[in-house]
Each structure stands twice: as structure tokens, then as C-alpha cells.
């Protein structure tokens, strides 16, 4: 009772202050409900709108009602210009970009949020409350919150930019154990420098500016080096992790401004993002540490012994086999995305369908390089949603399938996940192509998949290989199928 009563004695508040809290409460509730709905397929789209409505309410309420030391928000010209440019730019970029470039976009926008958090910390740093400093020196909670926002925000910004570059193919993987050592040292330097700044005692914070900018610089470099050694294909997991970082950075602003919607929204994303990161790792049957340290790809020598030989198949034989099947299951993978052959796959599907063949697609949850990659890819080619079957269901139907056509997939059909406990992918659920009567695999050559391991499926007696770039192979195959 003491605290609140004490508090209510001293605090001046206006009508607007109370109303602002109510709007913030509504906005937070909308965030929670939005996030909840986003995690169910049926309500996801509405969930996104709920969250967006919450954001709109929070922003408008802040603009109209926020007061600091009795002053209302000013500089409206600048604020509206910034919001205007941000809205138009964000809208256009997000609308225009190709579906398959979505992860890049998420990474980019995540970086923007991180940068905003870091900028806020930079600006608030000289304004740390004088009385707090008089009482506790720089070792006070405002300084702590400001530095955390600065460090986390800038790591998130720099890391996201690198992740963006990697996904975009502009930045290549640099795998060097040196970087890892450097990273550990830098982490220690960041903590040390922060402690050093915070133990400066009763000083004018502005005088510490050079050191704060040094902290910023090191944090940015750390962000770059943190993401650098991680394989490009692991970027979705990294982005999810950086996403939760930015959430925490935003929440620091919540402490700083005693702003509850920033606090709730930020922490919610921080916590949900962390869980999501783990779930994404789990779907690939890997641990987060494994992703970050990147020990993947070493490949166990086990079970690479008795492989037998591969058998190829000609285009014309493939066309005949497909044309006279009753049921065909296409298993798309990363190679289909690389070759951008989704439209051709659907064309083949339509032609076969016209010939009375029942064609479906088996969608593995981690096929491709981001969760839902295949859904997005095939949706872009206008493949009807009801032709896409989740891999569990597909496996149930598999016995009645005449031909499985694997297009550019590898790991997601690797039987080692089922029968080789030594394999790094052991335990991951797969599409059980071998339960079908025939398997045709389209790939360019002997290239390995993401997990960089052999695939015994290719050597199985049921399997026939159709080598070549998926796009060209499909093109030719379509011609052949039309001719029969």
C-alpha cells in the first residue's frame, strides 16, 4: 500500500495520462490476441490485422496524449514526414518484392527496428536523470537499460543486414574458426566496456560520449561477425533469433519511458521469438548451438558404404511412366526453388491431370530454406491449395502412389533419417518416397543437400535418376508428355 499511496500523493496527472494508459492496455491486448491468432492457420490473417490495429492505436494515442515533464509531443512536421516516408517506402518495398524474397524482407525490417532502438539509446544517453546519477553514479538502472538497448539493438541491426546479404546471395559464407575466437573476445570486450562506463561514478554522461560510440562500433562489428560464420541456409533461424533480440531492445525503451505497451510488446516478441527459434531448430532436428557454431556438414562416414549403383532414366521413358500412372506425387525441394521451376512443375501437373492422372504435392515442413518455403513457392505458381499435402498425410497415401517425382529435394527424402542412427539428420520426419511403386529423382548431378550427406534413396532399386537442371528437365519432359 505504501508505494502506491506515496506515489499518488506526489504525482500530478491529467485526464490524458489516464486515457493514454487505457489505450496502451488495449494495444497490448491486441498484440497478445494477434500473436495468438497468428499461430493458427485459420485465424492467422486476422491475427496480423489485430496486431496492426494495436500498433495504430498505440501510435496515435502517443502522438495525441503523451506528455513528458508536462510538455506534449512537438516537432509534428518532422514526425509526420518520417512516418510518411517510412510508410510509403515500407509499403512499396513490401508489396513489390517477390514472394520468394520474403525472408530477406523480414531480415531487413528487423534490422530497421534494431537500429531505431539503438538510436533511441544514443539520444537518451546524455539525458540520464541527474538525481539518479547523483545518488548512484552511472551505476543506475536508467544507464543499464540504455546500454542494453544500445548493444542489443545494434547487434540486431548489423546481424540482420548480414543475414539479408547472405540470403540475397551477396555475402558468401566465411567459415573460419578464427572468427569464433574473435567473437568470444569481442563479447568480453563489450561487457567490460559497459562495466567500465557504468563505474565512472558521478559524471556528466555527455562526457562519456566517445566511449559510448566505441561501444556502438564494437557492437556493430560483433553483430557482423556473429552472423558471418553461420551458413546461408541457416539464416531463417538466425533471423528468428535476431528478431527476438530486437524485441528485447524495444522492451528496454519500455523501461526507460515507463511505457507499458513497449514493454509488453517487446518482451512478448522476445519470448515468442526465442521459442520460435527453438521450434525451427527442432523441425530440422538440430540444436540452436549446432546452428550457431555450425558444426553441421562434417558428415558421418557411417552407412556410406554399400550403395550399389545409380540407375538413370530417359526423358521419354519418364514421360511414358508418368502418362500411364493413376497417381503421381511430386516432392518439391530446395532445388525447385533454386531453378525457379515451380511454374513448370504446375504445367506438368495440369497436362498430366488432363490425361486423367491424379497429381498431388507432398510438402515437407522444412523443405527449401525457410519454413513454408514450398507453400509460398507453389502458391506463387497458382497451384491450388488442396493439392498440397503435409508430409504425414502424404506418407499415409504413399502406398497407393504409382510414381513419386522428387524435384530438387534431397534431405527431406533421405531414408537415413529413419534407419541410420549415426546420421546427423536421424530422427527428422521424412517423406517416405520408397513406399510408392516408383521413384524418379530430378537433380543436376551428385550434389549433396543442405545436410551434406549421402542419400541412399538415389541408389535404391526402385529409384531412377533424371539428371539436369530442374527447369530445363521439366521443360523437355513437358514436351515429351504432350507427345504421348
Amino acid at each position: 500500500m505504501d508505494r502506491i499511496i506515496e506515489f499518488s500523493k506526489h504525482v500530478q496527472f491529467t485526464f490524458g495520462d489516464s486515457v493514454l494508459e487505457i489505450f496502451y492496455l488495449i494495444a497490448s491486448a491486441l498484440f497478445i490476441m494477434g500473436l495468438k491468432m497468428l499461430s493458427h492457420p485459420d485465424s492467422a490473417k486476422k491475427g496480423n490485422l489485430y496486431a496492426a490495429a494495436g500498433m495504430l492505436i498505440a501510435v496515435i494515442a502517443t502522438l495525441l496524449l503523451h506528455r513528458h515533464d508536462g510538455h506534449k509531443i512537438g516537432n509534428f512536421g518532422l514526425i509526420f514526414t518520417a512516418i510518411g516516408i517510412g510508410t510509403v517506402l515500407g509499403w512499396i518495398v513490401a508489396r513489390r518484392v517477390k514472394m520468394t524474397k520474403m525472408p530477406e524482407m523480414v531480415s531487413l525490417f528487423n534490422g530497421m527496428g534494431g537500429a531505431a532502438a539503438a538510436l533511441i539509446s544514443l539520444m537518451e544517453f546524455p539525458h540520464i536523470n541527474k538525481e539518479l546519477i547523483a545518488q548512484h553514479g552511472m551505476l543506475n538502472w536508467q544507464a543499464l537499460v540504455i546500454f542494453l538497448g544500445l548493444i542489443i539493438g545494434s547487434v540486431s541491426f548489423a546481424g540482420s543486414m548480414i543475414a539479408f546479404g547472405k540470403l540475397d546471395g551477396r555475402i558468401k559464407d566465411i567459415r573460419s574458426s578464427l572468427i569464433r575466437v574473435v567473437n568470444i573476445i569481442m563479447a568480453i570486450v563489450i561487457i567490460g566496456l559497459t562495466l567500465y562506463i557504468m563505474t565512472r561514478g558521478n559524471v556528466n554522461p555527455a562526457s562519456l560520449a566517445p566511449m559510448v560510440f566505441l561501444l556502438l562500433a564494437i557492437s556493430l562489428i560483433y553483430g557482423v561477425l556473429f552472423v558471418m560464420p553461420i551458413g546461408g541456409a541457416d539464416m531463417p533461424v538466425v533471423i528468428s533469433l535476431l528478431n527476438s533480440f530486437t524485441g528485447v531492445a524495444a522492451a528496454m525503451g519500455g523501461f526507460l519511458y515507463d511505457n507499458l505497451v513497449m514493454l509488453t510488446g517487446g518482451i512478448l516478441v522476445g519470448s515468442a521469438g526465442t521459442i520460435l527459434t527453438f521450434l525451427m531448430c527442432k523441425a530440422m532436428n538440430r540444436s540452436l548451438i549446432n546452428v550457431i557454431v555450425g558444426s553441421f556438414g562434417g558428415g558421418t562416414a557411417a552407412a556410406e558404404t554399400e550403395q550399389g549403383s545409380m540407375r538413370e532414366i530417359s526423358l521419354i521413358d519418364t514421360a511414358i511412366l508418368l502418362g500411364y500412372s493413376r497417381k503421381v506425387m511430386i516432392v518439391p525441394g530446395y532445388g525447385l526453388a533454386v531453378a525457379q521451376a515451380q511454374h513448370l512443375a504446375y504445367e506438368l501437373d495440369t497436362i498430366l491431370q488432363d490425361k486423367g492422372v491424379d497429381v498431388k504435392y507432398a510438402i515437407h515442413p522444412v523443405a527449401g530454406r525457410m519454413p513454408g518455403h514450398m507453400n509460398v513457392l507453389l502458391a506463387e505458381a497458382d497451384v491450388p491449395y488442396d493439392k498440397l499435402i503435409e508430409s504425414d498425410k502424404a506418407n499415409e497415401e504413399m502406398e497407393s502412389v504409382d510414381v513419386v517425382v522428387v524435384i530438387g529435394a534431397n534431405d527431406v527424402v533421405n531414408p537415413a533419417a529413419e534407419d541410420d542412427p549415426a546420421s546427423p539428420i536421424y530422427g527428422m520426419p521424412i517423406v517416405k518416397a520408397l513406399k510408392a511403386k516408383n521413384v524418379i529423382v530430378m537433380k543436376r548431378g551428385m550434389g549433396k543437400g543442405y545436410a551434406a550427406i549421402e542419400n541412399n534413396l538415389f541408389f535404391h532399386e526402385k529409384t531412377r535418376m533424371l539428371f539436369g537442371n530442374a527447369k530445363e528437365t521439366l521443360q523437355k519432359l513437358i514436351t515429351e508428355v504432350k507427345n504421348i
Partner: protein, 102 residues
């Protein structure tokens, strides 16, 4: 140490809010199917754009030119995060919207 204790006492309610939000974040997400991972990540990404409110507060009370420039960019970047985030999520979810029509 004293500073930390003051932080805890002064911000006790805020710390409770943090803990409750962490539990809530975990609970709300924990049953999401794999295909929704990317849109969910994207939606969460848009929500942390709430940092734009901090940026508005800073810019709204900025007095020096330097802080106005910084504040301007903070608001701009925050807005990009919010708008871009929600629009990208919406577009992604277009893909998942349609239910089997059988």
C-alpha cells in the same frame, strides 16, 4: 548493487509484467505448426516495431538539431519496421488463407 535494488523496487510492477509476458509469449506460441513459422516470425517482427513509439517520444521532445536528425531516422526506421513488417506478413498469409475446397 544499491542501484539494482532500487531498480527492482521501483520497477517491481514492470518486472512482473516482463515475467508474465515471457510466460504468455511461450504459451501462445508453443503449438504453432511448422508451415506458420515464417509468417509468425514476420508478424512478431512487425510487433517489435512498437519501438517506433520510443522514437516518436524522442523526436517529439528533441530540441537540438542533432537530436532531431537522429530522432527523424529513428522514427523513419521504426515506421519501416512496422509497416513493412505487417504488409509482408499479410502477403505471406495470403498463401495460407485458402482452405481445401473439396
Amino acid at each position: 548493487m544499491e542501484g539494482i535494488l532500487q531498480f527492482i523496487y521501483v520497477n517491481a510492477e514492470a518486472i512482473f509484467i516482463v515475467i508474465l509476458s515471457i510466460f504468455l509469449g511461450i504459451e501462445v506460441i508453443s503449438h504453432v505448426p511448422a508451415v506458420l513459422h515464417t509468417p509468425l516470425m514476420s508478424g512478431a517482427n512487425a510487433i517489435h516495431g512498437v519501438v517506433v513509439i520510443g522514437a516518436i517520444i524522442v523526436l517529439g521532445h528533441a530540441e537540438t538539431t542533432l537530436s532531431m536528425i537522429f530522432g527523424f531516422f529513428a522514427v523513419l526506421l521504426g515506421t519501416l519496421n512496422v509497416v513493412g513488417g505487417f504488409v509482408v506478413t499479410d502477403r505471406m498469409l495470403e498463401m495460407f488463407k485458402k482452405k481445401p475446397k473439396k
